[in-house]
């Protein structure tokens, strides 16, 4: 460590605090979001399953939160035979 470094030792703690605050603000939203997507997935699946036999893996629920607009994307692949005779 040079003489200059010794006297201008960096104060790294504020950097740690700021990085954490930024990261956790992001991660907390994400954690809540994945839970919501999981709940929606389960309930939407239950409603559809009441009427049509459907494969659990063929239902995709995606939640994207943006600053301006958020979107909920639901992608359900229907088996051909599901709609026959209806």
């Amino acid at each position: 460590m040079s003489f200059l470094n010794f006297f201008t030792r960096s104060r790294s703690a504020p950097v740690a605090r700021d990085r954490l605050q930024l990261l956790l603000a992001h991660e907390r939203v994400q954690a809540g979001q994945s839970d919501l997507a999981a709940i929606l997935h389960k309930e939407i699946l239950a409603v559809i399953a009441k009427h049509i036999p459907i494969d659990q893996d063929k239902v995709i629920v995606k939640l994207d939160r943006g600053a301006q607009v958020s979107t909920l994307e639901i992608d359900i692949e229907m088996p051909d035979e599901a709609l026959v005779g209806r």
Partner: protein, 273 residues
């Protein structure tokens, strides 16, 4: 009325086991009936830290699976007669525990003890979830270090969503125990301050345990620091934390800075600038 308290952190190596043993011992020293339960199946260490490693016959997994009765597995501390240990298994894996089995054992422990201290394994897997599952309150052990604070935040989220209390719409008390704190480094801006961490995690402070050689000496000889050296700074910090858990209103002292040689020679400016 018994209380189930989980000691948890997410990150490993921050002092969960040391804190479980010390808080458990301090509560027992205050006259409470206490059992400390090791949930770290496969990597048990609470027995070693509490100096009972040669007295383990049956363990939590044996009791959960019905191979042993609870009294057969409980180990009574040789120093404090109201302190007991329920060790984890060293040979099984974490899948040996089931929610139903753990719930039954916790129910039995509630009938015998005032405090059931659950020493959680690190991580966010099954073992950690089972340790917090039936808790009435939680002690979140955190080091003043970015990875530990991040993991604590994650664990706080899980305490608020994955515990039985949270699912029943109840409130789970959460307390922050800051360990390995170094006031001098925090004053120099090299380590996050207590207030920084409290602001980020937003849960009340139970205590501050400074980085201290006394903690290592105590675990070396298999004795909680509250018993081995109750007048040391770490011992007093744990004893005060236990008194706060018992409802006493004691102000948390921020540990004093030890003056470094440089600071004594050059004063504050030289060290801080």
């Amino acid at each position: 009325m018994s209380k189930v308290m989980v000691v948890t952190s997410g990150k490993g190596g921050v002092g969960k086991t040391t804190s479980s043993a010390s808080l458990g011992a301090a509560l027992a020293q205050a006259g409470q009936n206490v059992v400390v339960v090791d949930f770290d199946v496969g990597l048990r260490n609470l027995d070693l830290v509490m100096g009972a490693e040669r007295r383990v016959v049956f363990d939590l997994v044996n009791v959960v699976q019905g191979d042993a009765k609870l009294p057969q597995a409980l180990i009574r501390d040789k120093r404090v007669e109201t302190l007991y240990l329920l060790p984890a298994s060293q040979t099984r894996d974490k899948d040996a525990l089931t929610e139903e089995g753990v719930g039954r054992v916790i129910g039995e422990l509630r009938e015998r003890f005032d405090w059931i201290v659950c020493d959680s394994p690190a991580g966010i897997e099954k073992g950690a979830l089972l340790a917090m599952r039936f808790a009435d309150l939680a002690v979140v052990v955190t080091n003043p270090e970015v990875s530990s604070v991040r993991d604590s935040d994650r664990i706080i989220g899980m305490l608020d969503s994955k515990t039985q209390r949270a699912e029943d719409g109840g409130r789970l008390e959460k307390h922050l125990l800051l360990t390995r704190y170094d006031a001098a480094r925090a004053a120099r801006g090299e380590m996050m301050k207590v207030d920084d961490i409290l602001e980020i995690l937003a849960i009340p402070l139970l205590g501050i345990v400074s980085e201290s050689p006394d903690v290592l000496s105590a675990s070396n000889v298999g004795s909680p620091v509250t018993l081995h050296n109750p007048t040391s700074a770490a011992g007093r910090a744990y004893i005060d934390a236990a008194r706060r858990l018992l409802g006493e209103n004691i102000v948390v002292d921020t540990p004093p800075e030890r003056q470094s040689l440089m600071r004594r020679l050059f004063g504050r400016k030289a060290a801080v600038a």
